[in-house]
């Protein structure tokens, strides 16, 4: 990824210099190795702060909603999964393609700092990344780790290394590759439980929700100007989980609102401060959509109708879904 970072810096520098773009949206180094934050770079000099490493997980496409309303063209670095979100935003007319210059960047899979901590690695100061081999430098000494063990949940079932949209690519010929898992495995496992078990599972998970709205605000699909949960006139406004119903309501409705639109980018689960596996709700919808209405990947293209804005006369009946036991 260091090689890709160098390509990114040099191309961004060139594009700024030649005036193709007037800003660059990327990741900026932070206090530690693992906390780069999305940032806009306006000068060539500032690009020294541009980083791209295993912790550049934050997706950039959503920032383009505001960024492309501004004057001039902005360069953005999109990882393969982020290109789906970008396409989705294009489809819904939320970003202005003309004001965007997309460089698709290769990705070795993003890392989960929480997993690192769970493995007992405390006081992390920095990390050396070299394909699967990682060395963590900590307050309490160095530790060697395998990349595959600390990949983010979303990267375990990566959609692949193909960029769905880009103006140019910054990739390497020999990227590190890893075995991906069936993204519906956990959904299937839950479907196999009894309703009581499922209820207990979700109550346990959702009871941790603090309604910080990170899942919503990080979601590239949840980009309503005014969310129904913030709108006093919507009849369902709620700021906190005053009752367990509201946790359920918030997450069901959020998942439903993005059903057929969710690109399965996994940001919701990544950003959740309580590690609630919110992506499972989205994946349940995706799994059902695929089973009932045919395979559909939101954000794979810009045109066409999404599953909930179209229908077939021979669609499966809800009663059949009911008898089938979900899916």
């Amino acid at each position: 990824m260091r090689r890709i970072r160098d390509m990114m810096r040099s191309r961004a520098g060139e594009l700024l210099r030649e005036g193709t773009v007037n800003r660059v949206l990327g990741w900026k180094n932070g206090e530690f190795y693992y906390d780069p934050n999305p940032a806009v770079f306006e000068t060539e000099e500032s690009l020294d702060g541009l980083v791209y490493n295993g912790f550049s997980a934050a997706m950039l496409s959503k920032y383009l909603i505001d960024a492309t309303k501004k004057e001039g063209r902005i360069l953005v670095f999109l990882k393969p999964c982020d290109t789906y979100s970008f396409n989705h935003l294009l489809r819904e007319h939320k970003v202005n393609r003309e004001n965007t210059y997309v460089i698709g960047v290769g990705c070795d899979g993003m890392l989960d700092i929480e997993k690192l901590r769970t493995l007992g690695v405390k006081g992390i100061k920095s990390l050396d990344e070299n394909g699967d081999d990682l060395v963590a430098h900590t307050l309490y000494g160095d530790k060697t780790l395998a990349r595959r063990d600390i990949l983010l949940e979303k990267c375990l079932s990566c959609k692949g290394s193909e960029h769905k949209v880009y103006d140019e690519l910054a990739v390497v010929d020999d990227p590190w590759q890893w075995d991906t898992l069936d993204r519906f495995a956990k959904v299937g496992e839950l479907e196999g439980m009894t309703p009581d078990e499922r209820f207990a599972f979700w109550r346990g998970e959702l009871s941790r929700c603090i309604r910080c709205n990170a899942c919503r605000n990080a979601c590239p699909v949840c980009s309503c100007l005014k969310c129904v949960f913030d709108n006093p006139r919507s009849g369902v406004q709620a700021k906190s989980n005053a009752d367990s119903f509201e946790e359920n309501m918030f997450h069901i409705i959020r998942a439903f609102h993005v059903a057929g639109r969710c690109t399965d980018c996994g940001e919701c689960s990544r950003v959740c401060p309580q590690n609630i596996p919110l992506h499972l709700l989205n994946r349940k919808f995706i799994k059902d959509i695929n089973a009932f209405y045919g395979e559909y990947q939101a954000g794979a293209d810009v045109e066409g109708k999404s599953p909930l804005t179209e229908y077939k006369t021979g669609d499966v009946e809800p009663s059949v879904v009911y008898e089938r036991g979900g899916a």
Binding site: N248, F285, F292, P318, V321
Partner: protein
């Protein structure tokens, strides 16, 4: 008869969303044919099944409904040509999701009832009420603030 938590007889509360053009007329026909169905079923008239927002269904459960049923025109027969097709997809997904969250799936149902199917309407409601009675009170999506004893 099932007993509720407070020890009284369990009277399930069932909310039925019916489209104005067919299912509501079907319910009317059940009435004019004097076909009995449980008093627990309360019908809300909507122009089309596609008007039923998942929010309404969740709201009903929040406020203590024990079962929610949506009735619309038979597929292909929608007054608005395609409304029930959209409604069919939405409810199939929503109800599957509620099941996924552990809400017993017997509590939600979709039925297509035409204006001529008074008997079907009554039968459906009888069956549904039976299912709900067997399942008992729905606590999993209820908002405890809305329970009568509270403010």
């Amino acid at each position: 008869m099932p007993i509720n938590e407070k020890g009284g007889a369990f009277n399930p509360l069932i909310v039925a969303f019916c489209c104005n053009w067919r299912s509501y007329a079907g319910a009317d026909l059940a009435g004019s044919s004097r076909l009995n169905y449980p008093v627990n079923v309360k019908v809300i008239r909507v122009p089309c099944s596609c008007r039923v927002n998942p929010l309404f269904i969740l709201r009903a459960f929040q406020r203590g409904a024990d079962g929610v049923i949506m009735c619309g025109c038979h597929p292909g027969d929608c007054h608005y040509t395609s409304g029930n097709y959209f409604a069919r997809r939405r409810t199939a997904l929503l109800f599957s999701m509620l099941d996924f969250l552990g809400i017993e799936k017997g509590r939600t149902r979709v039925e297509w009832v035409s204006a001529a199917e008074g008997a079907k309407f009554a039968n459906t409601m009888n069956q549904f009420a039976e299912t709900i009675s067997a399942l008992g009170e729905c606590k999993r999506l209820e908002d405890i603030r809305c329970v009568e004893s509270e403010i």
